[in-house]
């Protein structure tokens, strides 16, 4: 690899042009991984294992050994990412290799199984590995698409500014609602007392909050104000306008939370599943040679 395309390598060293870890060094690791996959598939087809392909054949052992070494190396990204460096073995290069070699593991490990799957610790390890890879794939997908949406949604506000905007509206709502009778004041209070960061994980990921108290308060309020003319001095009109603003602000905040959640959620699968995989892999290897 090192001898190929020296010009590009130099440029990568100098970091003149920015390209992300996916395009790093002209897709060097994508090409490498593709080559590995093609070689694996071709050898799987050509090698005649008796009676049929399985993890215990010489081909199976080879694939299994490559697979486990790859898994261990891929896991090391967790350590490597804490030290950012530049150059050929920069963190970016490492991440690029992590992504593409990780994807090639789908082929290597599947060929290692010889397509023999069942309800056992061996398949457990395989399933966990696939879970790790697929969650990683999801991670790449959101990293590639969501940051732009996140930036657009923020409209140059920081997170704290977003929160402060909600707080300011809340204070105004609180003041404006003071003259209201108790039942109407209770509606406003519901909106105030609902945590904008509340809601289940599902609500966070979908961005849908069907029990939004602000929306409910506004709907109920409009029930009263709907058939009255806007005289300009009805406190309900002012509250309605405030609730409108709060809803808009909440929508922006919730979109922000949703995008951030999507950017984070895969790691909650990727990392624990990796550790589970290492455990299952240990059990898989020990069991195979224990009852060998």
């Amino acid at each position: 690899m090192a001898t190929r395309a020296p010009v590009r390598t130099r440029r990568a060293k100098g970091e003149v042009l920015h390209d992300g870890f996916l395009r790093h060094a002209g897709f060097r690791w994508l090409k490498t991984a593709t080559l590995i996959c093609l070689l694996s598939i071709a050898s799987y087809m050509l090698v005649d294992v008796t009676p049929h392909h399985n993890g215990g054949s010489w081909y199976g052992y080879t694939m299994g050994t490559i697979g486990v070494l790859l898994i261990l190396w891929l896991t090391l990204l967790g350590l490597r990412k804490r030290a950012m460096t530049r150059g050929r073995w920069s963190l970016k290069a490492w991440t690029s290799a992590h992504v593409y070699l990780g994807l090639s593991l789908i082929v290597i490990a599947t060929l290692h199984t010889g397509f023999q799957l069942g309800w056992n610790v061996h398949t457990l390890a395989y399933v966990l590995m696939m879970l790790v890879i697929l969650s990683g794939l999801f991670g790449i997908a959101v990293y590639a698409t969501l940051p732009a949406a996140l930036s657009n949604n923020r409209a140059e506000m920081t997170q704290v500014q977003m929160l402060d905007a909600v707080r300011a509206i809340d204070r105004q709502l609180h003041d404006a609602a003071q003259p209201l009778p108790h039942d109407k004041a209770a509606l406003v209070r519901q909106s105030l007392e609902q945590d904008p960061f509340g809601g289940s994980l599902l609500a966070r990921l979908s961005g849908r909050y069907p029990r939004c108290a602000t929306a409910r308060a506004q709907a109920a309020l409009r029930h009263w104000t709907g058939d009255k003319p806007d005289t300009g001095n009805d406190p309900l009109e002012r509250i309605d306008a405030l609730l409108e603003r709060k809803q808009a602000m909440l929508a922006r905040l919730r979109r922000h939370l949703r995008l951030k959640a999507l950017l984070e959620i895969w790691l909650y699968v990727h990392v624990p599943a990796t550790f589970a995989l290492l455990a299952a892999l240990t059990a898989h290897i020990v069991s195979v040679f224990f009852y060998w």
């Binding site: 004041a185 240990t282 060998w292």
Partner: protein, 602 residues
């Protein structure tokens, strides 16, 4: 008789600001409305929420105006009487009112807003609320939890289960679960009773399954060949095979040739699969290259690389027959000692067919004779019984020579001495007074041949009209006589014989001694599709089909033939006389085998 109301609020930097107001009256109103004495801008309160009254010198009474009530020392009440000397804490919505009393008897109400205006206004930790922390258990916790659970469930428990097995294991296999998760697949039908008892085969940890484990039960498995010859016969493994052998040796696995090399387990429930062809062709595919002295041809695949069959044929018939193995290539001869033209018997026209038609009702013949009319299968249907004169020929070829009362006397088949004796006795007792109406086979009339009809067997004797027993005997044994038509007869004097001799007939039931052919499995085929009997005019012609005939349906294990056939379909590795081992998946067919079959379709 007065109240001191102290409203305490906090500045942004946490400093307290106290605004005090004195009320010199016995009752204070409290609520959200601005006109109240104690105005608390709190949406949780009603506009006119409560009254605070001086009850007596030491006590005040607090009473809610609506139904919402207030908190008193943590409980929600609608009214309360409070000893100001003792003090109390009241809670109105987001406000806390501490009740106390100063030295001159003034009731002090210290009011403090304790809840923020809204939930959003509460203090928030940015990194926490804007992330998924709090919504999900921590990554580290999940990671270690899952890893630990897997190590316990799939490593520790199985090992513990292995270590804690009783020496005399009589546990129910369905209750053993400890190391079940380690099994790479269910065991085959035959070994199902061992499911969960891993140590039956995997006797020691980290030691591969040994032949001795198999031989605990399979005590009588033959060796295929002497171990030294097998070692010589095995092809040099490829690069991969060497790698595997290296790994195997490094982990202490015995060299190739172990039982488990061919008999793979954990390949799924159901019948165990026969050993794949590749296990045989490792040696036999190029056997000649290594075992120069072998008489076996190379066999790599039935469809493409398999030598012509060799049948065990009789080269010399007689009392001491001689056999030799002969390839089925070219014209094959097998001399059983019998004379028999298949073509005449199977012809659709001619005397035999005519005769068969007249016997339809009695013997179930068709318009002409068919194979099944003379050849009867063995009970298992695999082969055919030798043709028997009494059962299969005599209905046409009668040996009767006299009728006494209602009883027909016949010559004894297979006992020439008895034939001679019987004939002599016949002449001695009756004399040839009346020439008997006899004829050779060619001259019989339909209706006059069957057993039970009076009818002479001494065909030649008829023509000669013998007057003496010796003439009759000579006639029977000579050309044109009853015996001579089917048997090779030697007259007295030849070869030093004192008497007439009939060459013994030996009909083999099996020609392929190292391969297995099962007629029952080919019941759907017609006999003629393999055996060209209708064209054979000489019993010496061997009617066995060659390999080409088989290959019209059978191909190698992975061939696209109608019947892909691995080596194990016909050959048995452990060299027994019986059928090669096959998966027992044909329960229906086995039922049929058990039932006797009288009339076979083929």
């Amino acid at each position: 008789m007065s109240f001191l109301v102290r409203q305490i609020s906090l500045t942004a930097d946490g400093r307290e600001i106290v605004r005090a107001a004195s009320f010199d009256k016995g009752q204070l109103s409290l609520g959200r409305a601005a006109e109240n004495d104690v105005h608390l801008p709190d949406l949780a309160l009603e506009p006119d929420h409560a009254r605070i009254e001086q009850a007596d010198e030491r006590h005040i009474r607090v009473r809610a105006m609506g139904t919402l009530g207030f908190g008193l020392d943590g409980r929600t009440v609608l009214r309360a009487e409070i000893d100001t000397a003792m003090g109390a804490e009241l809670r109105f919505g987001g406000h806390r009112i501490t009740v106390s009393r100063d030295e001159d008897g003034t009731t002090i109400l210290s009011i403090r807003r304790v809840d923020a205006v809204s939930e959003a206004s509460e203090e928030k930790e940015e990194t926490k609320v804007f992330s998924l922390r709090g919504l999900l258990p921590g990554k580290r916790l999940t990671a270690w939890g899952m890893a630990l659970a897997i190590l316990v469930g799939f490593l520790a428990i199985p090992i513990w289960s292995y270590a804690s097995r009783p020496a005399n294991d009589t546990r129910n296999i369905y209750k053993l679960v400890g190391d079940k998760a380690w099994s790479s697949g269910p065991l085959s039908q035959a070994h199902h009773a061992l499911e969960g008892r891993c140590e039956t085969c995997h006797q020691k940890a980290f030691v591969s399954v040994r032949d001795s484990a198999c031989q605990t039960c399979h005590k009588d498995a033959h060796d295929h060949a002497p171990a030294s010859r097998i070692a010589m016969a095995r092809a040099e493994p490829g690069l991969g095979g060497k790698l595997l052998a290296g790994v195997a040796a490094a982990f202490g696995k015995p060299p190739e040739g172990a039982c488990v090399d061919c008999h793979r387990e954990h390949e799924g429930a159901g019948p165990m699969q026969p050993a794949p062809q590749a296990f045989c062709t490792d040696c036999h595919g190029t056997l000649k290259d290594r075992l120069k002295d072998s008489k076996l041809g190379n066999a790599g695949d039935f469809g493409t690389s398999h030598p012509q069959f060799s049948a065990l044929v009789q080269t010399l018939p007689g009392k001491y027959p001689r056999f030799s193995r002969a390839s089925l290539d070219g014209k094959r001869m097998d001399d059983s000692g019998l004379k028999f033209p298949h073509d005449i018997h199977l012809s659709m026209t001619g005397g035999v067919a005519k005769m068969a038609r007249t016997m339809k009702a009695q013997y179930g013949f068709g318009d002409a004779l068919a194979c099944k009319d003379c050849h009867k299968p063995t009970a298992d249907g695999v082969r055919f019984l030798p043709v028997s004169m009494e059962r299969d020929c005599q209905m046409c070829h009668s040996l009767a020579f006299e009728k006494i009362g209602g009883t027909v006397r016949t010559l004894r088949h297979g006992q020439p001495d008895q034939v001679i004796a019987d004939l002599r006795a016949y002449y001695r007792s009756t004399g040839p007074a009346q020439p008997v109406a006899l004829g050779g086979m060619a001259r019989r009339r339909p209706g006059d041949y069957a057993q039970g009809q009076i009818y002479h067997a001494w065909f030649g004797a008829v023509a000669a009209r013998p007057s003496r027993a010796d003439d009759a005997i000579r006639a029977v044994f000579s050309k044109g006589g009853a015996c001579y038509d089917c048997h090779t007869v030697t007259p007295p004097g030849a070869n030093g014989n004192a008497n007439w001799q009939v060459l013994p007939v030996h009909q083999p039931m099996r020609y392929m001694m190292n391969g297995w052919f099962d007629h029952a499995a080919h019941r759907t085929e017609k006999c003629e599709s393999c055996h060209a009997a209708a064209k054979s005019h000489d019993a010496k012609q061997l009617l066995l089909p060659g390999i080409d005939s088989c290959r019209t349906c059978h191909g190698g294990e992975k061939a696209k033939a109608d019947v892909p056939s691995g080596c194990a379909m016909c050959h048995s590795y452990h060299g027994g006389d019986g059928a090669p081992w096959m998966p027992a998946d044909r329960s229906a067919k086995r039922d049929e085998v058990d039932r006797p079959r009288n009339n076979r379709g083929d």
